[in-house]
């Protein structure tokens, strides 16, 4: 099972990010979340969600999903340019990967807290 995000539904509220932070710290904080809203390009209204998994980063952009293997730089097929996760996502590589909120009575907290059902739990590993 893994977490899937429909970035077109996402309204960028960051509830998932804070819920994940709570799962990590038993307090409110964002530093350890493994799901992060990238929101640095606010002047362009370009935002989405990044999830750190065991061996990959899943980047949910409005135009579609991209899965990047950690440690591998890929050429993007559409533009030929190297795509990187947003600046806000870079420290992601240092964070714990998603464990589907193991040990939490709520189940995956990000799925539960998303107000627009943009996050779901789907079949399949990485």
């Amino acid at each position: 099972m893994r977490i899937d995000v429909d970035a077109l539904k996402c309204i960028g509220c960051m509830a998932c990010e804070m819920a994940c932070g709570y799962h990590r710290d038993d307090a409110f904080a964002l530093l350890a979340s493994c799901i992060v809203v990238y929101r640095a390009r606010d002047k362009k209204d370009y935002f989405g969600v990044v999830i750190k998994e065991e061996e990959s980063l899943t980047i949910a952009r409005p135009e579609g999903l991209e899965i990047k293997r950690i440690g591998v730089t890929e050429e993007s097929s559409d533009s030929g340019q190297k795509k990187e996760a947003d600046a806000s996502a870079k420290p992601m590589l240092l964070r714990e990967p998603c464990d589907l909120c193991s040990g939490m009575k709520y189940g995956p907290m990000c799925v539960k807290i998303c107000p627009v059902d943009a996050i779901s739990l789907i079949e399949g590993g990485e």
Binding site: C13, A15, F28, L30, F47, I113
Partner: protein, 439 residues
């Protein structure tokens, strides 16, 4: 205060450059709760030095739905009274995590400065190179010079520097709920901006109960009265402007929400790009984020096209001037040309009526939205709105969202206070705290 708090009040004297800290006393929180309750109390303490106070609500930045609000309190250049304005988007949350619960700014700096708050550290930094630049350029420059695009800014433009009563403190690139002329107060202090970045952590007295309750409330409101609605246009429709959606639809790109606010109160429109574009636009400044419902409504009713109205709002945010006041003045003069309206900013003086709303910003529409709140008729709106806003500004709830979610009751707020802080708030104390901030 150990919970939902960094336990720090910062006092910044711009005249001497001195910065000091106080603890946030449990007793103060027990009596005044947070947000506007405490900014009001701090205002009274420092009133001889013409302070402007920044703060966050008790629940701001938590998992409680709608907990997006930061608050600015000062004497309004437009009314001469102490008033409060909300700041939302992600700035209220970011403020809460800077390591400071409240920031008291007194005195006037000799040269332009900005205040940089991050990770429990406060620095007064030189802003000479930003002085004279607009809101957008200032935010860009601050983010670039600090190397962090997630910095949130409370920032003024030329209107504040030139001492206009209509000057607004903007958030990043966009309008805020400042309808009181607080931009002028920043300008008079030679304070160009407050830059915020927070990596803090908030402990909770009873984490499990608190979070259980957050999820429970969230489940109840998720299918509530605003379900399926989004953006400023649906708010306008709820306010009786039936064709609002159709009017603005050709420009709408996406809707977005302020921090942890289940209703997306913000509508982004593209003016220089195809709004249907999903990929990152090459245009650096393709459009504008509309978050001032009242200003948009006034421009629409004055007969501006959606495109012209959006151009006016964008120009206001760059210049740092209250869009609602500009909309009112343009409507009165009959001017519909966005370029001419923009040209008028330099000489626009405060002949506009004082904002309604007593001490709270009329940025939040003065009526229930989508839900009915069991009010008998429209004559009950006034008193209801003031109490509702007081509650939102104390606890840190988005003030527009507060008007759509009757589930966020006073009883529930008391429960959240007690679970979050371990203190004991009663209805009588809440009544007193509300009365104190409404006086």
């Amino acid at each position: 205060m150990d919970y939902l708090s960094s336990n720090k009040i910062l006092i910044v004297d711009l005249e001497t450059g001195q910065i000091s800290e106080d603890e946030l006393d449990d007793e103060l929180v027990s009596q005044k709760i947070g947000g506007v309750g405490i900014t009001t109390s701090l205002y009274e303490t420092y009133q001889d030095r013409d302070p402007i106070i920044l703060g966050a609500g008790l629940l701001t930045g938590t998992l409680f739905p709608g907990s997006a609000l930061g608050v600015i309190s000062a004497k309004s250049p437009r009314t001469g009274h102490v008033t409060h304005s909300p700041f939302t988007l992600k700035a209220g949350m970011e403020f809460k995590y800077t390591g400071f619960d409240y920031v008291v700014i007194v005195g006037k700096s000799k040269k332009p400065v900005f205040l940089w708050l991050h990770d429990g550290v406060a620095d007064i930094q030189d802003a000479s190179e930003f002085w004279g630049t607009d809101v957008w350029n200032t935010t860009d420059s601050i983010r670039k010079s600090m190397g962090d695009d997630l910095i949130q800014t409370l920032v003024i433009g030329p209107a504040g520097e030139r001492g206009s009563d209509l000057a607004q403190i903007c958030v990043n690139y966009w309008a805020s709920g400042d309808c009181w002329g607080f931009g002028k107060v920043f300008g008079e202090k030679n304070l160009k901006a407050v830059a915020l970045r927070g990596m803090g952590l908030l402990e909770i007295s009873d984490p499990e109960d608190f979070v259980d309750q957050c999820f429970e409330v969230f489940e109840t409101i998720k299918g509530g009265a605003f379900a399926g609605k989004s953006g400023v246009e649906d708010i306008l429709t709820a306010m009786g402007e039936k064709d609002a959606k159709e009017w603005i639809a050709p420009f709408v790109h996406r809707h977005s929400a302020c921090y942890n606010t289940p209703y997306p109160t913000n509508t982004f429109i593209y003016l220089n790009e195809n709004p249907k574009t999903l990929t990152e636009p090459t245009e650096q400044e393709p459009g504008f984020l509309i978050n001032d419902v009242g200003a948009l409504l006034t421009l629409k009713r004055a007969g501006l096209s959606a495109e012209s109205a959006c151009r006016v709002l964008k120009a206001c945010a760059k210049y740092g001037i209250d869009p609602s006041a500009v909309a009112e003045l343009s409507a009165r003069s009959g001017q519909k040309d966005p370029d001419k309206i923009e040209q008028s900013f330099v000489d626009l003086k405060g002949t506009v009526s004082a904002p309604e709303g007593g001490k709270f910003s009329s940025w939040a529409p003065m009526q229930p939205l989508f839900a009915d709140f069991d009010l008998s008729d429209e004559s009950a709106y006034g008193d209801w709105w003031v109490r509702r806003q007081a509650l939102a500004y104390l606890f840190g709830i988005h003030p527009i969202f507060a008007n759509m979610a009757p589930e966020l009751s006073e009883e529930l707020m008391i429960e959240m206070f007690n679970k979050g802080t371990g203190l004991d708030l009663s209805q009588e104390t809440l009544d007193q705290a509300i009365a104190d901030v409404c006086l």
